[in-house]
């Protein structure tokens, strides 16, 4: 039976770049060839969440949300808009981080929909955070002498989003690869504004756990950390701040390896992705510097 992958994301009415990471990861997976069809659907763009399923011919569809945590979108908006018959958040049996998959019939198309947990809470997301550090430093072995910060919104709006930040910060710490690892927040302590206070290491990689670049990752955070006075003038990577070198990575969701997390989600849900995970991991790798560099 043919299987389709549908990656669903927020999208934007105003920011043309919002959909770019979703497209890019979908393309990577399409090229790996594990699915007959790979489609994207958006809350604010087209095809809409409402109509994306009918653009797939397959009877079996794996839906992976490009969201960072479990919450309003993954629990209410997406299942409702996809018309997942009998959706009940309890079916995920999640502690806020552990949603993996629940299977339903789409009321309008009759397709079997394997509705997966969001990319942001998958364990392999930790690898993407680390990969992001490799990308921004250009060093596939980055770690020694470096501090590592994962940045999120904070608990103010959604408790689960902070859980995801802590979860990945712990996992990066457990790798024992970076000198220090810290979870930081935009709207609560420990705050990203004071990033350099939390690190002894001269070099600090800062990776926001966001799906795509936008207002927070391109304006707020760079200004709050003191990388620049005005986001419009840009900032250096690394930027000198209070005697530290801050390597600001921008949204983790733009990292090519994100495609792997999407695939892992679908694989965990039972999709046959044999070989594709290895292919995607290989094709999204950060090149080691040339020997004579």
């Amino acid at each position: 039976m043919s299987q389709a992958l549908v990656v669903v994301a927020h999208g934007s009415h105003l920011n043309p770049g919002s959909s770019a990471p979703t497209y890019e990861h979908a393309d990577t997976i399409r090229a790996a060839g594990a699915f007959e069809e790979v489609r994207t659907g958006f809350w604010k763009e087209e095809p809409s969440l409402r109509e994306v399923l009918r653009t797939c011919e397959a009877d079996e569809v794996y839906v992976v949300p490009m969201f960072i945590s479990e919450g309003y979108f993954t629990e209410q908006v997406i299942p409702r808009e996809l018309r997942l018959e009998g959706w009940d958040v309890e079916d995920w049996d999640s502690d806020g981080l552990s949603a993996d998959v629940a299977t339903y019939t789409a009321a309008d198309t009759g397709q079997t929909v394997h509705y997966c947990g969001p990319v942001g809470t998958h364990g392999s997301m930790t690898d993407v955070l680390v990969r992001r550090a490799e990308s921004v430093t250009g060093d596939p072995d980055v770690g020694e002498g470096f501090g590592f910060a994962v940045v999120g919104h904070g608990t103010e709006r959604n408790e689960n989003s902070a859980k995801a930040i802590e979860y990945h910060a712990d996992r990066v710490r457990d790798l024992d690869r970076f000198e220090e690892v810290q979870a930081l927040y935009m709207d609560e302590e420990p705050e990203v504004d004071d990033v350099t206070d939390f690190f002894e290491s001269e070099d600090v990689v800062v990776v926001p756990l966001f799906v795509s670049d936008g207002f927070h990752t391109q304006e707020d955070i760079p200004e709050d950390m003191g990388l620049t006075d005005d986001y419009r003038t840009g900032y250096d990577v690394p930027a000198a701040v209070d005697g530290h070198r801050v390597w600001y990575a921008g949204a983790v969701g733009t990292e090519a390896l994100m495609a792997d997390v999407v695939l892992e989600r679908a694989a965990d849900a039972g999709a046959d992705v044999s070989g594709a995970i290895e292919t995607v991991r290989e094709t999204t790798r950060v090149a080691a510097p040339e020997a004579d560099d």
Binding site: H13, G17, S18, S48, T55, I68, N158, A251
Partner: protein
């Protein structure tokens, strides 16, 4: 005719029932290979029976009916699918006989789909494989070499993102599709994919409508379903929904044909348009704009008294028309006969606005005096700010999807800095 096509024909003729498609009938006496009987070959123009295989080949050779059969039954396949129905439409296959279509395809058979012009051609009639060219209808007469040409349907995503002025297009079926490009020499699969990328889900919905299974969600269904920051749209008055449809869903704004009404038994008076494909429910742009209109409609009207000359009144009406019809950019700098001409408008502002930016010196709120012009404009933006906070609070429950923040991003760019708004907030 390629050998594979004749082999396929023999195989199909030998099978139970033989071939019967688009005027072509090929079968074997006795109905199957084991019978050893001769073949029958029938087209609307031609009939031959009791043929050996080599005689059948002679009849089939060069017959458009055979290559046509092969294209539809061995290439496109998928009976009862949107993609097949769409490709059949592209050559009016259900209305015209094969030989007519082949003549037309040799010249190029053109259909339109919103602002898209789709031309089906048949470069090699001996093969029957159609090729397609997809471009903007405005580029109908242009040579392919004059256009940016593409082959990969996925390139249509980036292309469809911006209009000819480089502005972001949040609605793919808006009437501002860019010009100057062509997806040229596409196979049937890529042709459908290109159209579905430029106008997502339109083929699927058109097909459902054709089959009588279009699932329409009327305004009241869609409004009721909303939660979070969009929950308020349910409160938009019935008459305002009429204006929403007139403002946003008119043929001048969107190439879809609006099929949704206020509710199943309550049609909107606004014209749904003549688009080739249906709009089955209020889109996310309409819902987002309706949220703004819901908030604006919560205000009670007040009576203001302005003194205007007749021409000034008409000029204000003319400016409204020009902005609403998107004509402002086309008004020439020195054309002072146009109401929305920049000098005319600046003159009117110089004459009618007081230092606070109030029209004819009449304060918006009679109780409020003396805020400056910037703040006056700031009022609207404050609402924006509030909405953004709302996004964080509700829609943005997941917290980190930057899409919404991206929204904030662009709004902030458009509208000066947030501090002003904060100041204003404080004043209130």
């Amino acid at each position: 005719m390629p050998a594979r096509q004749f082999d396929a024909l023999i195989e199909a003729a030998d099978a139970d029932g033989g071939v019967e498609f688009d005027g072509l009938r090929v079968s074997r006496a006795g109905g199957e290979a084991a019978s050893g009987g001769g073949y029958t070959f029938v087209t609307p123009e031609h009939e031959a029976a009791d043929l050996s295989e080599s005689e059948l080949r002679a009849h089939a050779e060069g017959s458009p009916y055979v290559t046509n059969w092969y294209f539809w039954e061995h290439e496109v396949r998928r009976h009862d699918s949107p993609r097949r129905a769409f490709l059949r439409r592209a050559e009016a296959a259900d209305e015209h006989a094969v030989h007519e279509r082949y003549e037309a395809l040799a010249e190029g058979l053109v259909t339109e789909w919103g602002q898209l012009r789709i031309e089906a051609t048949l470069p090699d009639a001996d093969d029957g494989a159609r090729r397609y060219d997809v471009r903007h209808v405005a580029d109908a007469g242009r040579a392919v070499d004059d256009l940016e040409t593409y082959r990969d349907p996925l390139d249509a995503r980036e292309l469809a993102k911006y209009d000819d002025d480089g502005m972001y297009r949040p609605l793919k079926t808006a009437t501002n599709a860019p010009t100057g490009w062509a997806f040229h020499d596409l196979g049937w699969r890529d042709a459908v994919e290109t159209v579905e990328t430029l106008y997502p889900a339109t083929v699927a919905n058109w097909y459902r409508e054709r089959e009588g299974t279009l699932d329409i969600d009327h305004w009241s269904d869609t409004a009721e379903r909303q939660t979070g920051i969009y929950g308020v749209v349910e409160e938009l008055p019935r008459e305002a929904v009429e204006w929403v449809a007139e403002a946003a869903c008119d043929d001048s704004q969107c190439v879809k044909r609006r099929e949704w009404q206020y509710d199943e038994d309550d049609e909107l008076a606004a014209d749904g348009g003549d688009g080739a494909f249906p709009c089955r429910e209020p889109c996310s742009l309409v819902v987002a704009a309706a949220r703004r209109w819901t908030k604006l409609e919560e205000e009670d009207p007040r009576e203001y008294t302005f003194r205007l000359t007749p021409s000034e009144k008409e000029q204000i009406e003319g400016i409204l028309d020009a902005v609403a019809d998107g004509r402002v950019d086309g008004i020439r700098e020195a054309d002072v006969y146009e109401d929305a001409n920049r000098y005319r408008t600046r003159y009117l502002r110089a004459k009618l606005f007081d230092d606070d930016g109030d029209l004819a010196g009449v304060p918006t709120d009679p109780a409020e005096h003396g805020h400056d012009g910037e703040d006056h404009h700031g009022e609207d933006h404050d609402d924006h700010d509030e909405e953004d906070h709302g996004d964080h609070g509700d829609d943005d429950h997941d917290g980190h999807d930057d899409g919404d923040h991206g929204d904030h991003d662009s709004e902030a760019h458009g509208d000066h800095d947030g501090e002003e708004h904060d100041d204003h907030d404080d004043e209130e």
